[in-house]
Symmetry: C2
Subunit: 252 residues, 2 copies
């Protein structure tokens, strides 16, 4: 629902250029997120080049071209998307020489693999029919992408134990079916107390976290080499309850 | 992954009854949420009755039977689930006369229709191909059920304007496809500034809200007849930013 058609963009740019209080400086596109094939981006950018050229042919000023984000994040165990270098080479080929300032919005590819969600194993539950559940202290409220999009996150044991890989259903402690991170994931043997990391959790992880089920938001820790610091603290239950107000006319 | 089989429950109850420091008082079941047919509940409760009778036949003490939640919420424009009275009659029929204290967990059916999410129309956007987008100031972070489960919420104009019903795609202002509440919903004519209510938002609404996209949590307002009070305030951007800490070793 965002954006306008190319024809409409031309009309609007011309119209805005004729309004004394406005100074259009450029055009922008954004065709999506987690794009793993340069083809659609190449096609979109070529169209944007055409738009810039048409606007200039009409005598309009275009200084900036924002190509948006979209470059796919390398997820572990999945085919690698193009690298930033391959992306840049394509951009140079398609819009090179236009004489515009280029803008990019590659937040996801920068942030995603810079963050992990750490969780502790609460319990390994083997069902009579053979399914093995790995119950973690992290839940859907901490990382909602699997429940929401069936998103894939690699899961790694911090100190892997020796032994065969075993299929685990990896779940959180919230009492509902949605609190499932993945089913039948092959993992090394794990025991209560072990730590695991959900990889690629730096994008759409903490940013989408909620306090669903009265679970305090997980603290965020910044790590730089051997240094680390808590950059967002876990709220206490008192802090969470202080936000709830009772009107004076409400009798209990 | 929660719960144990009936056979296991019997063994565990007997085992726990033999431990001096434990005093089992009852058994519980919970077969799901938003159940709109009494049949599965009737079957489950009959099995629970059997469990209580078997435990007692073994000489074990059972004082309480928790039948869980599950009774479906009446959603507007959808077939009505059984009423609480019909549910109670079924319970009396199935487990009546057992001489146990009954416990119920009907949170959803109590809370859901007690809450609405109010939103203001930011913009009505008509696309050349004929689709009409209703852009609201509420977003997926405020009510995630439609994005997460394609859940249905009735949407009502607070002051409906006269005119034919028109199909609207109802979306929030977050720049992603997931920020869609519903597509092609027939609504009366709406204009920027109008207020609409998402009905049945009292369960899994504010409880699952996040600050995704740096959107402050919507305030919660309690209404009782003509009285109302803010019972959770919208955080300010300053309050949101205060939670972010910068380590002293982090140079900018």
């Amino acid at each position: 629902m965002f954006g306008v058609s190319f024809g409409e963009a031309e009309r609007l740019y011309a119209k805005a250029s004729n309004i004394a209080s406005l100074k259009p400086v450029g055009v922008a596109c954004h065709i999506g997120s987690q794009i793993t094939d340069l083809g659609p981006m190449r096609a979109a950018f070529a169209k944007m080049r055409g738009l810039v050229e048409r606007l200039r042919a009409e005598g309009l000023n275009v200084e900036r071209l924002d190509l948006g984000g979209g470059l796919g994040v390398p997820y572990f165990n999945q085919p690698d998307p193009p690298t930033p270098a391959e992306y840049a080479a394509m951009v140079a080929q398609v819009v090179g020489g236009l004489g515009v300032q280029l803008a990019f919005e590659p937040g996801r590819v920068i942030a995603a693999n810079a963050g992990v969600l750490l969780a502790r194993v609460l319990h390994v539950h083997e069902r009579p029919e053979g399914r093995r559940f790995l119950v973690l202290d992290a839940a859907m409220n901490d990382l909602i992408r699997p429940a929401m999009y069936e998103a894939y996150h690699d899961i790694r044991a911090l100190l892997p134990r020796a032994g065969e890989l075993v299929a685990h259903d990896v779940v959180g402690p919230v009492c509902e079916t949605g609190d499932t991170f993945t089913r039948e994931r092959l993992l090394p043997p794990l025991e209560a107390g072990d730590l695991v990391a959900f990889m690629t959790a730096g994008a759409y992880g903490a940013a989408m976290a909620s306090e669903y089920n009265s679970r305090p938001l997980a603290p965020e820790v910044l790590v730089k080499g051997a240094e680390f610091a808590v950059i967002r603290q876990r709220p206490s239950y008192d802090e969470m309850l202080e936000r709830e107000l009772l009107p004076d006319w409400q009798t209990t």
